[in-house]
């Protein structure tokens, strides 16, 4: 009986892991398809906890090497069960270049295109509005050469 419970526990653990991996794969594929007629290059999967009241929202950061003369597309998708809505921002050092959420207008975009003119290391930041918890995927795609 003990053996059976142990096997069941291992199976449940493995299954939960497998279901989570499947959800992430589906969300990534969906998000890549939503990006339109472009070529998928990279995904950034995030799982963020709820932020503390008054504190900065939890943020995932990824370093990227982008090439001059290329138009890249950055897309963002939140998992259906997420409490918050994911936002992707692109930075060059401390300069914010683009965001899927424009604070000044309150407008959301599922993606934005970035006409890169300078080869170098950039950073993608992903967080959830108001520091809420959630799962999300950012996608970087190749659109065309400039």
């Amino acid at each position: 009986m003990k053996k059976f419970i142990l096997i069941l526990a291992v199976f449940t653990f493995v299954c939960s892991d497998f279901l989570q991996a499947q959800d992430v794969s589906q969300l990534t594929a969906q998000c890549a398809a939503n990006a339109g007629d472009v070529m998928y290059l990279k995904d950034f999967v995030v799982k963020l906890d709820q932020g503390t009241p008054g504190g900065a929202p939890p943020t995932a950061r990824f370093a990227l090497l982008l090439s001059k003369n290329v138009v890249y597309r950055f897309s963002i998708c939140s998992a259906p069960n997420s409490e918050g809505e994911a936002v992707l921002q692109l930075f060059d050092m401390n300069t914010l270049l683009g965001s899927t959420f424009i604070t000044a207008t309150g407008k959301d975009f599922p993606f934005f295109d970035f006409k890169c003119q300078k080869t170098g290391v950039y950073h993608v930041f992903i967080s959830f509005k108001e520091g809420k918890a959630g799962d999300g995927v950012g996608i970087m795609s190749y659109v065309k050469k400039l």
Partner: protein
């Protein structure tokens, strides 16, 4: 495209489950991962290389993409040539994990070039080679050979084929990072990079263009990132030899000058779509002599790597 990918995810998920169960069942029996090739095992090579979350965030995620150089060359209108890709008949001779990971990257870049040019008949050979090498370094579970092979038989499936190929490569890379086998990930990325550079330089020889010259020159930045990671493993003589080879290129790239012209980014919203135009510009200063030397050395290093 999405339906094909959904089907692929379902199939992949079932394979994962079986692999996880088999691994759980087998973990009690296995006594370690011995190798008979005289290689330093991955676990030993990665010992002491503990990467904190903060440092991890600073490691460049996409040092080299298996499709970006190929996409640019296609956009430049340069016709496909099979002279630029590495032959697959040598896969059986690749016996160490060092050779296997490095060549997995080389073939991934070749696969990107083939896919980009819709050369479906040749794709199967490369898929077979990648499958064999990914199994050998135990990341084959991320490479759904059956689905990819089926997609490759129909040119209408190009989008799905491209997505699954690149995504599989990214997943292998993530898995290697997560499982303390960063040394093999570094080799895969090096393979992708050198093959991409080889493709770019060989195309430049036949069809020179300013854009390609700049793209070659700016590889200086990528090489710096790559060598920084490989340095961690130089106690293994195979990595030390690879670093020596790459140093030949680094010495040449040192003389390439990249300067920046500053400008403010612009945000344009048109038809509901947002576009950011960067007005900072990098200018790559590279002479014909520098290019000739880089082309020759790239050819030498790449050919030495594929003859391992």
């Amino acid at each position: 495209m999405l339906n094909k990918i959904k089907l692929w995810i379902m199939r992949k998920a079932i394979v994962y489950l079986l692999v996880l169960l088999a691994a759980a069942a087998g973990s009690c029996k296995s006594g370690g991962q011995g190798k008979d090739s005289g290689e330093i095992p991955d676990s030993v090579l990665n010992q002491g290389i503990e990467i904190s979350e903060d440092v991890m965030q600073d490691i460049v995620q996409n040092i080299s993409s298996p499709v970006e150089m190929a996409a640019m060359i296609k956009d430049l209108g340069v016709p496909y040539s099979n002279r630029y890709i590495s032959p697959t008949d040598r896969v059986g001779n690749l016996t160490t994990s060092f050779q296997q990971a490095l060549n997995l990257g080389i073939y991934a870049a070749d696969l990107g070039y083939l896919n980009m040019n819709n050369k479906t008949s040749a794709v199967i050979d490369y898929l077979t080679s990648i499958k064999s090498l990914s199994d050998a370094i135990k990341v084959g579970q991320f490479f759904d050979f059956t689905t990819l092979k089926r997609l490759a038989t129909n040119s209408k499936n190009l989008d799905s084929l491209m997505y699954i190929s690149v995504h599989s490569f990214n997943e292998m890379d993530k898995y290697l990072h997560a499982n303390n086998r960063t040394n093999l990930s570094a080799l895969m990325v090096t393979g992708v990079w050198i093959e991409g550079l080889y493709l770019g330089t060989q195309v430049y020889k036949i069809t020179p263009s300013q854009m390609l010259a700049e793209r070659i020159g700016e590889q200086k930045l990528t090489l710096d990132q790559l060598m920084l990671i490989l340095e961690n493993y130089k106690q293994d003589k195979q990595y030390a030899k690879l670093l020596d080879d790459l140093q030949l290129l680094k010495d040449l790239f040192k003389t390439v000058n990249i300067r920046i012209e500053k400008g403010e980014p612009e945000m344009i919203e048109e038809n509901g779509m947002l576009t950011i135009v960067q007005n900072d510009k990098s200018i790559v200063e590279i002479s014909p002599e520098q290019l000739t030397a880089i082309i020759a050395t790239t050819e030498q290093v790449r050919n030495s790597l594929i003859s391992l």
